[in-house]
Symmetry: C2
Subunit: 167 residues, 2 copies
DNA sequence: ACGTTTGTAAAGTTAAAACTTTACAAAAAA
DNA sequence: TTTTTTGTAAAGTTTTAACTTTACAAACGT
């Protein structure tokens, strides 16, 4: 143990970071953001920007920016410790629920916007009737239905899924 | 009508392309791929690479590459028409179902891979017991649970949702 | 008050993605 | 067979995203 074990543990840490990151990257986080999250997640105590910087081998500014993004996603929060001057960050509890909630809400609001815009286009089109546009009208209608279907999926995830007590 | 109407219709087409694209971009399609899809979607007849090129104002190679990606996503298929030498492509029927099916399956297989790898790491860790690693073990366990929760969501979408007759 | 530390904005650089041009093999037409 | 057309690979270019360095205001300590 000791030195060798230390390295072994480090290796395992990196493996977890590598794998878990891939999952988070599927949810519109970039590589650095994902890696930073998992780093914080595996670290027992809250970390400072300088510790993150050393841990990932990137600049402090990069950490600052990534941390802000993770906060926007509600994955990370700033904590305060008596006597510590630097900002401290740690991962939020209830990882799964917090993450999905934020993520789903983002998608829903984006979808909602797109549906509104498509509706506007549709209204515009019906205002100037033209038999040549029948096909187009049908396409828009179908596109809107498509969007509503997606909306339904995400709403389902939100209502069914967040009630469970998990992770 | 006539000239003015033509332009108006074109404008509406572009608006739809713009909005619908944004939605598809949420599903790991890039801008060009998304725009190309909607272009094909709105076009009554199948299109050739040259028509796509003219329509989007990009190179033929770019279209060739984008079309391949759209085929991988099962959003587009090549069709044959007697006497037409060029390849023709059109959007698939049952847009919603085809799209979600492909998309969800991709996510599920990625998740599955990550779960396996995390399981391996976990096994590895339990093989070399060390009281210092208890916390890490717990983290891995939690991470795996997180992944299983995501897996469950996608499986639900797959089983519940694809049964509906829609779009 | 004054020097230090800390986080981040702004400017500049590097790395990666998207795209175009060129080149060419496979298929069709002559 | 030879010539032309078509799709795409390979190489080269441009554009965008990611990252670093520098600079500086705000907070802290003395």
């Amino acid at each position: 143990m000791g030195e060798a074990n230390e390295t072994n543990l480090e290796r395992i840490n990196n493996q977890i970071i590598s794998e878990f990151s891939k999952t988070l990257e599927m949810f519109s986080l970039n590589k650095t953001e994902a890696q930073l999250f998992v780093t914080l997640y595996l670290h027992e105590k809250p970390m400072t920007l300088d510790e993150m910087k050393d841990s990932l081998g990137k600049s402090k500014t990069a950490m600052s920016y990534a941390i802000r993004r993770l906060q926007e996603f509600n994955l990370v929060e700033r904590v305060w410790q008596k006597g510590v001057r630097k900002d401290l960050y740690e991962t939020r509890e209830e990882l799964y629920r917090k993450f999905m909630k934020t993520y789903v809400n983002r998608w829903l609001s984006a979808l909602n916007k797109q549906i509104n815009n498509l509706d506007d286009i549709q209204d515009n089109l019906t205002r100037y009737p033209d038999e040549h546009q029948e096909a187009l009208k049908h396409k828009i209608h179908e596109a809107i239905t498509f969007h509503h279907s997606l909306e339904e999926i995400f709403t389902n995830i939100k209502t069914n899924d967040f009630l469970r007590k998990d992770v």
